[in-house]
């Protein structure tokens, strides 16, 4: 499963890197922002209220956001672990860390629980400020690690502190898997309720499972996979690391609505 997912990740990662290279060379005015689905959510308020797009937003952003909603309904937050280049970079850092230390470093449970609501705060702040104080301008660019990194740190409206934000998030992601996704990503916050209802979900076959706990250790999102029959957790991205780690064939299987 990981080979297939890695191929898909590499395709999107290579695409955004190529776009970055072309942008830095002056060959295109487009940047990673041109294809960012979160921009579609940002575009909705001025589109509905004023029937226009603000800043560099357009109908492709809205269409990609709607497609992302569809993907999340079908397969939970698969976007995060199959498509998002920032998710891919964080995963590679996590794998490097695990290769060195031999295990996944976990946040203390209480701290983890306390930080998770932070992404909803980020979502409210980004949307609220874009639609009011920034008057439709994409001021979040200076704080968005995806934009900062994949414009080669040369993007529009970046500030000096933007570099520190991006490097800092990646540094933490080396130790805490998918740090940005788990605690700060506003797009992840939007997808949460849909992810819980995702049609494609993992199911445990108890008769085959030996309760070895390898699935828990393998999960980068700290989901207690071994404790559930059907995995509906909103943070599950269908990365299938638990399936790859499971030594018993058929103990964990991908199903449609549990069947």
């Amino acid at each position: 499963m990981r080979v297939l997912r890695t191929v898909v990740q590499l395709i999107f990662f290579a695409g955004v890197v190529a776009l970055m290279a072309r942008g830095l060379a002056g060959a295109t005015p487009n940047t990673c922002e041109t294809y960012c689905p979160f921009a579609g959510l940002v575009a909705l308020y001025p589109l509905i209220r004023h029937q226009t797009y603000t800043c560099a937003l357009n109908e492709l952003h809205v269409a990609l956001f709607i497609s992302l909603v569809g993907l999340t309904v079908i397969s939970k937050k698969s976007f995060c672990s199959w498509v998002c280049p920032l998710g891919t970079v964080q995963e590679w850092l996590w794998r490097l860390n695990r290769r060195i230390f031999g295990r996944t470093v976990r946040m203390p449970h209480a701290l983890d629980r306390a930080l998770i609501p932070l992404r909803y705060v980020v979502l409210a702040a980004v949307l609220g400020m874009t639609w009011t104080i920034w008057q439709g301008d994409l001021g979040f660019r200076a704080y968005d690690p995806f934009y900062i990194i994949f414009t080669g740190f040369q993007g529009h409206e970046l500030m000096a502190f933007s570099v520190f934000i991006a490097v800092g998030i990646l540094a933490v992601a080396y130790f805490v898997p998918y740090f940005w996704c788990r605690y700060l990503c506003p797009l992840g916050a939007v997808m949460d309720p849909l992810s819980r209802a995702g049609l494609l979900r993992l199911r445990r076959v108890w008769s085959v499972c030996t309760d070895c706990g390898k699935c828990d250790e393998a999960c980068p999102h700290a989901i207690p996979v071994s404790e559930v029959t059907e995995l509906t957790a909103r943070n599950c991205t269908n990365c299938l690391e638990c399936v790859d780690a499971c030594p018993e064939a058929g103990a964990l299987e991908l199903t449609i609505l549990g069947k």
């Binding site: 499963m1 297939l4 997912r5 898909v8 005015p29 487009n30 589109l47 029937q51 226009t52 797009y53 603000t54 800043c55 560099a56 357009n58 109908e59 492709l60 269409a63 990609l64 709607i66 497609s67 992302l68 569809g70 993907l71 079908i74 397969s75 698969s78 976007f79 199959w82 498509v83 439709g136 494609l200 269908n238 299938l240 399936v243 299987e253 991908l254 199903t255 449609i256």
Partner: protein
């Protein structure tokens, strides 16, 4: 695990649908009229304008052509870097409007 293939297939299909549908509808980024009274005869030209990728650039382009006699209105669509200009053929020719649309412009950032 044949169901795994559903994920990349869904990703591909939904991305293709997004790109395919963006031509089915378009909402202007900027719509501005430069005259108080609409002339009796108005013609329209639609043209790609290099660099017209955001609202700021649309407004800069409007500033550039808005003072030209005969130009009635401007509508921009930044997804396709396209502009639609309405003009009064009594005051300006189609070729002159096309020349305006093809002339380079630089949007000065504040």
């Amino acid at each position: 695990m044949s169901k795994v293939i559903i994920i990349p297939v869904a990703v591909l299909l939904l991305i293709l649908v997004a790109f395919a549908t963006t031509d089915a509808y378009r909402v202007p980024t900027l719509e501005v009229t430069f005259v108080e009274e609409r002339p009796a005869t108005v013609e329209t030209i639609e043209h790609e304008v290099a660099g017209l990728t955001c609202l700021g650039q649309s407004m800069g382009f409007a500033d550039m052509i808005g003072g030209t006699p005969g130009v009635v209105s401007l509508t921009t669509y930044t997804r396709r870097t396209t502009a639609i200009v309405e003009y009064d053929p009594e005051l300006i020719t189609r070729d002159e409007v096309r020349a305006l649309l093809e002339s380079p412009f630089v949007h000065e950032e504040e």
